[in-house]
């Protein structure tokens, strides 16, 4: 059953279409990722799902309800963590959790929630004195404290150190194991690849691709990467003639080829024919990162898009 349905969603600001015909469905119990470069329209899309923005056109349904017209009922089933949100500087963690828990008829017990998010030691600390990671974890706790069926997390691991990020991923998997549907907005490839059942890649306000992480990688022209150091130089033209070849790189005598399984077989045949030994031959699947660059306009240069490459 689809708990979120977005059909042909459109939203413009000042005549510029930020979301330009986005459609997707999120099934109950899945972790659904929305991936895209900065400014692609990810946040605007989820804000329409949260009922914070009124779409110009298209249809949004959350558990069958309109998030704008039925805002009250939607707010009971959907918990949100907003990008760049803040709380009152002098509000303590305990007070924030108690306050937000009081908003819901059947809230979660905030004590174990704080425990699980590593906030148990910080209950008496004021919001303004928390570290960036602690603030993020508090926002996740506030999104979950109402016992929602759906939780929307927008850029939640931005600003976290690698350890805290991994802990947060574990937490999201735990949330899903409890039957909560997760809509995750991210620009971290590793995060999307590790967590998401399905991913919608959004670029320039449109869905560029929608598939499982493995499916997205398979679709890429650079699905397989072969690296080796040849014992003797190889003829450039012979490399260029390899089938399904997407790219070639030379660095310190080492060659990196991107392509498909067909390319792998052809390389091995070529090396055998020339009696060249391939030192440290490595064949690996491309990462989601490679697929992402393939699917979106690569002229957008955003350092954050590549920083999570393993």
């Amino acid at each position: 059953m689809s708990v979120i349905e977005v059909t042909d969603l459109r939203k413009s600001y000042g005549g510029r279409a930020v979301v330009d015909g986005v459609s997707f469905c999120v099934e109950e119990g899945e972790i659904f990722g929305i991936l895209g470069p900065n400014g692609a329209g990810k946040t605007t899309t989820v804000e329409c799902v949260e009922g914070l923005r009124v779409p110009d056109a298209g249809r949004v349904r959350v558990t069958g309800l309109d998030p704008v017209a039925d805002h009250d009922r939607v707010s009971h089933v959907l918990g949100a963590q907003l990008q760049e949100g803040r709380l009152q500087e002098k509000l303590t963690v305990r007070e924030a959790l108690q306050l937000y828990a009081s908003f819901y008829p059947d809230p979660a017990d905030w004590r174990p929630l704080a425990e699980r998010l590593g906030l148990a030691e910080r209950l008496g600390t004021r919001f303004g004195k928390l570290s960036g990671g602690q603030k993020q974890r508090l926002f996740i706790a506030l999104a979950l404290v109402g016992n929602p069926r759906i939780v929307v997390l927008d850029e939640l691991t931005t600003g976290l150190d690698p350890r805290a990020r991994r802990d947060t991923w574990q937490l999201i998997e735990d949330i899903r194991a409890n039957g909560v549907t997760v809509l995750l907005v991210t620009h971290f490839m590793e995060e999307a690849q590790r967590l998401c059942d399905r991913i919608a890649v959004i670029d320039k306000g449109r869905v560029a691709a929608l598939d499982t992480p493995a499916g997205l990688i398979r679709r890429s022209a650079r699905a397989t990467v072969i690296t080796f150091t040849p014992s003797e130089p190889l003829d450039e033209s012979e490399i260029g003639a390899l089938p399904a070849l997407a790219s070639v790189e030379h660095k310190d005598g080492r060659i990196t080829l991107a392509g498909s399984d067909e390319t792998v077989n052809a390389v091995i045949t070529l090396l055998a024919r020339r009696r060249i030994t391939a030192h440290q031959l490595r064949v690996s699947d491309a990462t989601l990162d490679d697929a992402f660059l393939d699917l979106t306009d690569t002229t957008v240069t955003d350092p954050s898009m590549t920083e999570s490459t393993p």
Binding site: E50, G51, L52, D72, S75, H76, L78, G79, A80, L82, E84, G85, R86, L87, Q88, K90, L91, E95, Q98, L99, Y100, S102, F103, Y104, L142, G146
Partner: protein
Amino acid sequence: MNTAVLRTEARLLAREPGSLFWILAFPPLLLAILGAVPAFREHQDGLGGLRIVDTYVPVTVLVGMIVAGVQSMPVGLTGYREQGILRRMSTTPVRPSALLSAQMLVHALAALLSALLALTVGRLVYDVRLPGQPYGYLLALVLAVLVALALGSVISAVSGTVKIAGAVGTAVFFPMLFCAGVWLPVQAMPDLMADIVGFTPFGAAAQALNAATAGDWPGWSHLAVMAVWTVALSTAAARWFRWE
């Protein structure tokens, strides 16, 4: 109105030493200092036999309201919008308007508490007589609080950032203090000036409080001036306020 939000906002205001000082401590302190001047404790024929310290009790009552409504509240409300706190609350079953009304109510209560403190200091330290017409006094006080909150809401509505809200609040603050009679109590103003000031929210409030102190029912024209300002300012605030 959500009581949990209200309790939280009351607690948060109690953690702002600056706001607490200027709303609650400064007005009674001002009265205490003025009353310490011997000449200000002498009866003056020009003031109808009142002492200067008598005329300053309603003034200091209004100072607390002006600080609460014009200086403290707009900065708080604008900050809540600027920091996305209103937006965060929009995603919960409690509407962000609960936060606005809680902010207004805690500032109203603080302003009334400040008025009570000023009256107490006047009575106990300088033997200023209590309002002769307490119901009329209370009505004038409530209207003065409402107009202060309405004015603060307009400031918050037109100010995009906390910095702007602070600057606009300060620009409005001093003329309002003047009208309330901080530099020259309305009884001591020339008649024409007192009449003009009577059309401003706090000039009208000062004259209504003075009448009630003397034991008369406040003039309907002064009460009406405050009511009209309250309605006009509230309407403007509601029209111009942006949730984000």
